[in-house]
């Protein structure tokens, strides 16, 4: 898990290839006037780039012979090419750090094309190598460049997180189906871990099947509990001649209120709360205070605090009646 192999998205790569080829064919003259400028940038970026270039230029064509053939701009649009370059990249850069990988992948198109131009110029300046080698170096340099690029690009790239990050370890299959399947399995197991924390007693079980069984049992037990509790609630029912106004009348007698609260007020308070999506404790409580404003001073008098504390407050008895009012089903 700590390695950091990289497999570029196939579609991503094909886009790169296509644009590179496009640029090369459409405006080849574009390279020359800006060449001096880009030479400077290569100097600014430091010797690491040049060193890297040199090694890449020497080694790449020998080692990755078949890839250089594949990297030919005329063939680069075909899917086999993208696959080949993907493989190449994976092998080449599997020691790079993870955040570098992320940055690399999330370059948007404009930046890619710019950098592409930059690199092609730099390579032309540095050594007049054949086109295929240049292409390989371009790719290599792009990776390098992306790793050490400026912060504005990084922030931009971090916004575009819709690429799937995959890494293939040594010996793992690298075709797109296997990658997708691996991503899927990783997602599932990660969520399973998440669920494991939620379900009590699930952490002792090893194996996905057992865990899933436990989760299913837990959900079922919760659903049954709700059914049971609603049965209980139906049994705990007020008398048939039970009148809500009685309770509120009693409430008025016990606490000298000037405004007689009505059930409509309660309902309106509730529905008002329903509209708001951002709930807070205060809002909820204020909604409740609509109909017992005299008890605002005592915090424990709020019936909803019962749900917070878990312990019935002393004023609970009178408030049960309030609950009863809305409970009479």
């Amino acid at each position: 898990m700590n390695g950091g192999d990289l497999l570029l998205n196939c579609t991503d790569m094909s886009v790169l290839e296509r644009q590179r080829a496009h640029l090369k064919y459409l405006n080849p003259s574009f390279d020359s006037p800006l060449a001096g400028f880009f030479a400077d940038t290569s100097m600014i970026n430091g010797g690491e780039m040049d060193g890297f270039l040199a090694t890449a230029g020497l080694n790449l064509p020998m080692i990755y012979g078949q890839t250089t053939v594949v990297g030919d701009p005329r063939m680069s649009i075909s899917p086999e090419t993208t696959l080949g370059t993907g493989n190449f990249k994976k092998r080449k850069f599997d020691t790079e750090t993870k955040d570098c990988n992320e940055k690399k992948k999330m370059v948007n198109r404009e930046e890619v094309t710019e950098e592409e131009e930059e690199k092609s110029k730099i390579t032309e300046l540095n050594n007049g190598s054949p086109k295929s080698i240049k292409k390989m170096k371009n790719k290599a340099k792009k990776e390098e460049n992306n790793c050490s690029n400026d912060s504005s690009k990084v922030t931009k790239e971090l916004e575009k997180t819709d690429y799937i990050h995959v890494r293939a370890r040594r010996g793992q299959a690298t075709d797109s189906h296997s990658i997708a399947e691996r991503v899927r399995r990783e997602k599932i197991s990660e969520r399973m871990k998440f669920l494991q924390d939620l379900v009590p007693g699930c952490d002792k079980i090893t194996g996905k099947a057992g865990m899933l069984d436990e989760i299913i049992n837990y959900v079922q037990s919760l659903q049954r509990q709700i059914e049971f509790l609603s049965m209980k609630l139906a049994v705990v029912n007020p008398r048939p001649d039970f009148d809500m106004d009685d309770i509120f009348a009693k409430e008025v007698v016990s606490t000298p209120m000037t405004v007689v609260p009505s059930p409509e007020m309660v309902h309106s308070g509730y529905s008002h709360e329903m509209v708001n999506s951002g709930y807070s404790n205060e809002m909820v409580n204020s909604g409740y205070h609509h109909f017992n404003p005299m008890q605002q001073v005592e915090t424990s008098s709020d019936p909803l605090s019962y749900f917070n504390n878990g312990q019935p407050p002393s004023m609970w008895h009178s408030d049960v009646q309030n609950l009863y009012g809305s409970l009479g089903v």
Partner: protein, 161 residues
């Protein structure tokens, strides 16, 4: 995997939000169905249960979650109301064909079979991909346990009297 870490967000609102919604739907039940009308106890149980689930779905963020969407939609269907939620998603059912089932069986037979059972439990689970199903299940479990706590409090408080 760095990409998936941030995706899991199963925060649920406070307990009193659930309580509030539940009480409100109960009081709605009462206004729909006055006390003096003779209702069978089984019917009442069913209605309270439905109120519990619907209020839970509302408290858990309305239509923002797949399971709560499915629950509310089902409830609305029961009421013969045609409710159209905003931002409808394309309906996809993950009916596993016999061919696919075979390949799944080769892969992980028990896991897929258990996930299938879980799909039947979580509302709206039939249209979910497995990893999404896990995420929704996590949220659903949180909300269910919250609702159970709220109802337990209510029952305790009422039986004290």
């Amino acid at each position: 995997m760095a990409s998936a870490d941030k995706l899991i967000n199963t925060d649920v609102p406070e307990k009193d939000v659930f309580a509030l919604h539940f009480l409100q739907s109960l009081s709605n039940l009462k206004t729909q169905n006055p006390l003096n009308s003779p209702a069978k106890s089984i019917d009442r149980v069913r209605k309270i249960k439905k109120a519990a689930y619907v209020s839970m779905a509302r408290a858990a963020g309305g239509t923002s979650r797949l399971w709560s969407r499915a629950l509310l939609r089902r409830a609305a269907k029961d009421d013969n109301k045609s409710v159209r939620f905003s931002r409808r998603k394309r309906k996809v059912t993950w009916k596993i064909s016999s061919k696919r089932r075979k390949s799944n069986n080769q892969r992980a037979p028990v896991v897929e079979e258990a996930a299938e059972r879980l799909r039947n439990l979580v509302p709206g689970g039939g249209g979910m991909e497995t990893s999404k199903l896990m995420e929704e299940t996590a949220h659903y479990i949180k909300c269910l346990s919250m609702q159970v706590k709220v109802m337990q409090c209510l029952v305790d408080g009422l039986s004290q009297k």
